[in-house]
Subunit: 386 residues, 4 copies
Amino acid sequence: MSDSTVFKPLGRRLRLAVIGGGPGSFIGAMHRQAARLDDRYELVAAALSSDPERARLGGQEIGVSLERSYPSGQALIDAEAQRADGAEVVAIMTPNDSHYAFAMQALERGMDVICDKPMTNTLEEAQALHAKAQATGQVFCLIHNYTGYPMVRQAKAMVMAGQLGEIRLVQVEYVQGNRAKAGPSKSAWKDDPARGGPSLVLGAIGTHAHNLLCFMTDLDVAEVAAEIGSIVPDRVTHDYAGALLRMSNGARGSFWITQAATGVENSLRIRISGELGTLEWTQEHPQVLQFKPLDAPAQVRTPNGPGTLPLSARASRIVAGHPEGFHEAFANLYSNAADAIIARRTGQVADPLSLYFPNSHDGLQSLRFVAATVVSSANQGAWTAL
Amino acid sequence: MSDSTVFKPLGRRLRLAVIGGGPGSFIGAMHRQAARLDDRYELVAAALSSDPERARLGGQEIGVSLERSYPSGQALIDAEAQRADGAEVVAIMTPNDSHYAFAMQALERGMDVICDKPMTNTLEEAQALHAKAQATGQVFCLIHNYTGYPMVRQAKAMVMAGQLGEIRLVQVEYVQGNRAKAGPSKSAWKDDPARGGPSLVLGAIGTHAHNLLCFMTDLDVAEVAAEIGSIVPDRVTHDYAGALLRMSNGARGSFWITQAATGVENSLRIRISGELGTLEWTQEHPQVLQFKPLDAPAQVRTPNGPGTLPLSARASRIVAGHPEGFHEAFANLYSNAADAIIARRTGQVADPLSLYFPNSHDGLQSLRFVAATVVSSANQGAWTAL
Amino acid sequence: MSDSTVFKPLGRRLRLAVIGGGPGSFIGAMHRQAARLDDRYELVAAALSSDPERARLGGQEIGVSLERSYPSGQALIDAEAQRADGAEVVAIMTPNDSHYAFAMQALERGMDVICDKPMTNTLEEAQALHAKAQATGQVFCLIHNYTGYPMVRQAKAMVMAGQLGEIRLVQVEYVQGNRAKAGPSKSAWKDDPARGGPSLVLGAIGTHAHNLLCFMTDLDVAEVAAEIGSIVPDRVTHDYAGALLRMSNGARGSFWITQAATGVENSLRIRISGELGTLEWTQEHPQVLQFKPLDAPAQVRTPNGPGTLPLSARASRIVAGHPEGFHEAFANLYSNAADAIIARRTGQVADPLSLYFPNSHDGLQSLRFVAATVVSSANQGAWTAL
Amino acid sequence: MSDSTVFKPLGRRLRLAVIGGGPGSFIGAMHRQAARLDDRYELVAAALSSDPERARLGGQEIGVSLERSYPSGQALIDAEAQRADGAEVVAIMTPNDSHYAFAMQALERGMDVICDKPMTNTLEEAQALHAKAQATGQVFCLIHNYTGYPMVRQAKAMVMAGQLGEIRLVQVEYVQGNRAKAGPSKSAWKDDPARGGPSLVLGAIGTHAHNLLCFMTDLDVAEVAAEIGSIVPDRVTHDYAGALLRMSNGARGSFWITQAATGVENSLRIRISGELGTLEWTQEHPQVLQFKPLDAPAQVRTPNGPGTLPLSARASRIVAGHPEGFHEAFANLYSNAADAIIARRTGQVADPLSLYFPNSHDGLQSLRFVAATVVSSANQGAWTAL
């Protein structure tokens, strides 16, 4: 990644609209920064708030014209679809319960879609949305941003190249402390089970952990034995989930997530062991991939260091030894999606290395995982197939 | 800890006999080094091998007289029990399936016992041995050496002092790669389910993980939902075990152990989260205890650094910044046990800080855990009470 | 930092031109990404190559119009200065020996300047350029990008707030391996002492280390005792420099830089000790600032974690626990400069927290340090005042 | 290392006497633990205090008979030399200014000597003592305990095996905070320049840093440009020293030590770069040796892990993944010395791998380094040959 690849094939940037992510939203700013970093998008329209005045002011703050600052996602999609210079891509970063509706509408209007995770709140919606995405052939990029890190992609590439041999054992944890205190969440919808999905913690971070595990191992989760619940007193929505895993190739695994671990910032950590070696990665030091081969000294792999495989090299913008972070990983998904969108819209074949972004199939797999986990927990931890 | 505390009350060192740990045994040398470090023991007798000639030569190599180099544990216990200057303490470091018999015999002859883990192979033996230890009032020290680390004891002391508040979430992993390759083990008894116990991996490292978790949290495991098995092809004995945990206070947890993670050396790692903070410790860097308090910067605690509590201070022999390791942790158990033994034999009251070594009750608890885990795994992961 | 602050006061983005950084240049792409991230700039003109055809093609690739893709920096400055919609800001990322000329020309034409380091090759040029910048009152931002990291700014803020007390001891090292192999450099000008400045290693990374030290300690280097040289056989230009330091307040220090340390990626590391505590930071894990206070446990500070001071908070775009890196630090300087430029051009007062970017005074100080180091080394390490 | 090697050749342990290290002394207990760990020594005599009553009580506490608890080192040496069962080895752990006299006396009486560092306070004493040790042929082991760490020995062995190629660049730092506070030291002699040597900080930790550097690189320091001084207000004795180094093969280096870095525990850190790779080691995590080879991924070497060389393997008692620390490194020197002593006394040839302990030549080299550093500092940092 680096500078834009849009000017040559397209002569301009892709026209992007955003729904959600209004003033003060961390994730909204992150999406827009990610869209800008590699210069493949021009932000032309926004629906930042359901309050018309806040929508207008918010648009102004980020350089969107008054005319194209919409008071709702629906309005945005309707209006932009009718403009000759309308948005070609819609990025959705609203609360979980509206992802489905906006994504369906955008797909129906011929737009390509970038959608925050979880893809939907329910498995049924996920199935319908995946079917729609497949039917239209439009691009659907699901923002599991951790898959954008260079060393995550290095791990995936090493696994796919057989450097680990058959995968045997996996562990993934995603531990945070941002819900360790009792009391209401900052965002009211997160305390409303009807809006936050069947399991808040699974939607919020469990889908990340599941997706990352599948991405890095090139495997699916086949069966799960799980417990989900709330450990903080007087809390309704889930704040932890544990599971044992059986992977599609027979590998065994451990899955542990929580948002109630006091003082822990963002410990997303994964270990993958195969016949020939073990890989370890932790999100808080994303530039380090530990590789522990059979009968040879442990290695510390870094972006663009010796042994870097093409999928990883393409995901990094730096020379070895300089840190990249969350923004760059996030931007990789936006830029991968842009490459796919441009290829589709210009009738070209996209660079295969651009196509490793999570899509609606991955979103559906995560919702299957959520559903099976909920069932298993309700059945006293019984092994449940996805 | 540091120099001996035996000369003042006793005028001499405690007389120690060892059963097992012959020439070439890592754990045998470790026990003897641990016994020497703080100068509380004199090694007077040994049964290092069932081969009489090897037993004699082995004894000679470690400075034990010919006369007291026995060809069997039974012979050692019988003969030493009849000597006026006989061994007062017997340390057992034989394969798992003989711990029970030697420990029972030693207790019956009035000896204090130091025993390697797992205490026994079966729950029934564990119950009988614990009952015997209680009935005799003799000292029974079970070598879960990880409980001897200064920062493990600091963690326990912080938990007991309420610095974490109510414990909510726990995670323990013990991951090794020493059985990652297919084929027979170095020690034949480890491939024989009849000798290695109901689950080799649980006996070998699972009891360590269980014991450490209970030690540090001051809690018991109440229920377990588990799977155990063999992931390396063509292996009979278990090489991995995963479990979800419900602790005695309602805390939830994750447990993951394996000896089949290629290239991983000895990753015993624990995280304990309470209402007021989280503690993290990993055996490979034992001098570091991370404390992540609620709403305050994360701290790095080290032995004898600021905030050290007495239980930890007493477990360290160094000034802050100098590393201690496996030997010193191991020696702490030997020295704690010596203090308890001397107090018992001289009719004194032992320093309460000496009494935090694992005992037959802890050994019994671990065997209960093993048994419940085996049952749960056989019942498709059903929650099983200990 | 996050979204743009230009739309409200200016109604549009600042018009930026770049000189240097053509296709394939890491640093060119980095500058443009940094300019884009916070949406304060629009790239309107470029002089990417002295070859007119390469300049045109390069401009096209990055979305600059043919008309404003210039074959030289001089041509760019001349033409843009005459346009009503001409570039307001010029960013210079050419080889070291042309920084001076382009920066002087831009300042003379009323443009604000962003300039890569080292500011100039000689002390005389640095003095002249600083004088010019002061005389014009225009903004001059020198890209010592390491000063943009949130935890570097946290350190500076803690020092300025007195949390370390009087600074006593400092250490800075900048160790790389990118010139460990004998033979010519990738860029020919780096092997030409006439173009690379009096000491290549000091210009390339020594000015970074010097600037970072002064930035974080809020002190100047007063005297230096140094040796510079070439350790790789048959090399003409310098590849290492060591120095002892006396700081302006009497603190003592150590300075060590090299580009010849085989296999080392980019170890820029700093330790600052004061009466009340020590701070440690290393560029390869930029999100971690270790604080070791007097008589209290060591702390691990992270962006937006507890204890974050405003200067640091403003330099970060994330929630605690998510990594930022080189791009974000770099972008902070661009965005700080933009805030200063907009304030100047609109007659407003800039937010004081925006004004901590390195400027021409800092550039001059680094050139003084380089000059004194060269003199000291030539005088057998004699202490030399800056 | 592991169990004793004395019983076979000698039929008993070596008889050891200690001078210094009385009750409450950290270093005294450490010496005795180190002597015990591998069971090569029996402690038979002690002079723990110049106060006769304290000497007697101290002896009793550590199991030394009343008769052989001496009120002075002189008395001990005189009396033990006349006993048929007298001490064969004397270990000296008194304040620096008496090392010379006790060591000379012991050598003159035919005893082997283990001596704490610095060997002497002055260069003249060091020369005389080294000459005496050479003349007698007795064993003189100088306790630079850091040379006993398995990974330090691995580094030395890798360097000697040519795995780094020609050494080019070295860095060593030894940074502590134990004298960061103003006011008197715990031990009064440390504030008395007449007793603490020409430079307290150089004697206390500088000789460690110098010795470690020479040990690991297999090189000498040839020239030094230095500054030493006191940074804590109102302090007479030195608390920091910085130097630039020229090594005997032309390599260049940086040296930085202080005991006044508030809050830092014991940061002894070394980096060695050669044509083929770089090694990095830090005392606070002694089990990790980082190896960064040319054009290959960085490696993490650990004791007994893949690639372990014999000199390192022999210095470790554990299986890979289990931590060793300060005691074991310390004990390695005691056990190496014992092997040399037994070989000498029995007329055998010692295992060459036992002979890498620091000796009187190394002690002399360190005193030369101290002297040259003092001269250079007095001469405004002028390069000074050792």
